[in-house]
Symmetry: C2
Subunit: 245 residues, 2 copies
């Protein structure tokens, strides 16, 4: 049977099959706990044949990680249509889909266990972060971002990672709530420097201009304003135009 | 001369001296670039003598990391006096002092380079995160935090890390601005779930109750409200009492 399967598959096809099998195993248990024997058994081939395609577990792990990274980066892709809040929410849903599908492997990788920490894995992770960062900047329509905006977007990407990791550790909060919270957090992290920096205030204004009052951002602003008992008279700062209903 | 120094120092004293010398070197260059020979030279002893006290560079690195972690955890310590905004700002100043002093080593460690990624280093880093988390909870006066508050505090600790790392990468934004921004971010990350969850609204209310209008939180709220052109009528949600001037 093993030989039969082997005959039917070409080299690249077999490599791709092994990567898929390994990714499935690495996703559901900490990669350190997955053996080459298990991968061979799940793929229906012998252990030596696995080594024929991949010199060791680390190289198979890295190949699986690259495939997962491509998958994740692909999920950040979102049409440039409609208000930003809705776009980010759809991206966060796909991000949590990914985190849900690859939970233990995602945790093990991001928490820097023995499986992580090589130059290759760090580079793959940084590549995904960079893809996320570039997608956000493209949605903001900013081609030459100032340091403060770069910091906010990078910080938010990092916040999305840490929120997902905390969620995986017990899943105490419904993921839909956290998807929305991260969208809100993005607006909040933009709003904080916008309170002090005119360029960031302009970014916030552009974001809010197209937001409906019942979208994620509009709803948050309405609720937060309701939490403040007495609004001080407006200062002569950059102002967000009234949202469209 | 080497022998003379050796005679004057006891075992523990020598170990502590080596840890201090190594920490200084590991702080200013990526630990992977620091050799045992350099550490020996900086300590004024022979290479074999370094190995007499530490079996290898990794064990010396871990000892240096533990000392740095104790130092950092100590800096989170802040008297429970006065408004929370001011307390957090003082802690953030000491945190950035630490990051400034140990820049390249901090980056290499947190970015998961080859020096990181062992179980020991991960445990030390997690210990510091836990210490920061517990300090914040103590300042909030919360002994049995709900999942949403735990998530916010852990997320903020992670945000402080990532902000510091981004700052180190070029130092494009003055650190004093980022220290204040992180204090503001804390309020913002609490405010987002407070807009939807009564328990979080109660936490926000307790924080804001003692904040002066010209403190970090009061100033931010005033500026953000000024960015909203027309406040909707207050909803029957939990409300933050008016700040004391």
């Amino acid at each position: 049977m093993t030989t039969g399967v082997r005959r039917r598959m070409g080299v690249e096809e077999r490599r791709q099959q092994l990567i898929g099998v390994a990714l499935e195993l690495f996703s559901h248990r900490s990669p350190d706990e997955v053996s080459i024997d298990e991968i061979a058994a799940a793929a229906g081939i012998s252990r030596p044949l696995v080594y024929h395609y991949f010199p060791g577990k680390q190289s198979l792990y890295e190949a699986a990680l690259r495939r997962a990274a491509e998958d994740l980066a692909h999920r950040f892709s979102e049409r440039h249509e409609g208000p930003l809040g809705g776009r980010l929410l759809r991206v966060m849903r796909r991000f949590f889909d990914f985190v849900d599908e690859h939970g233990p492997g995602f945790s093990a990788l991001m928490r820097g266990g023995p499986a992580a920490g090589t130059g290759t894995t760090s580079a793959v992770i940084d590549g995904v972060r960079q893809a996320a960062y570039e997608q956000i900047m493209a949605h903001l329509g900013v081609t030459d971002p100032a340091p403060r905006l770069r910091l906010v977007v990078r910080s938010w990407v990092s916040l999305a990672e840490s929120t997902a990791l905390i969620w995986l550790d017990g899943r105490e909060i419904p993921r839909a709530e956290l998807e929305l919270q991260l969208v809100h957090d993005f607006a909040a992290l933009v709003a904080v420097p916008a309170a002090y920096d005119p360029d960031m205030a302009a970014v916030l204004e552009r974001i809010m201009r197209d937001e409906p009052a019942d979208g994620p951002f509009g709803d948050l602003v309405g609720r937060l304003v309701a939490l403040v008992p007495q609004a001080p008279s407006p200062a002569p700062a950059a102002r967000v135009p009234q949202q469209r209903a």
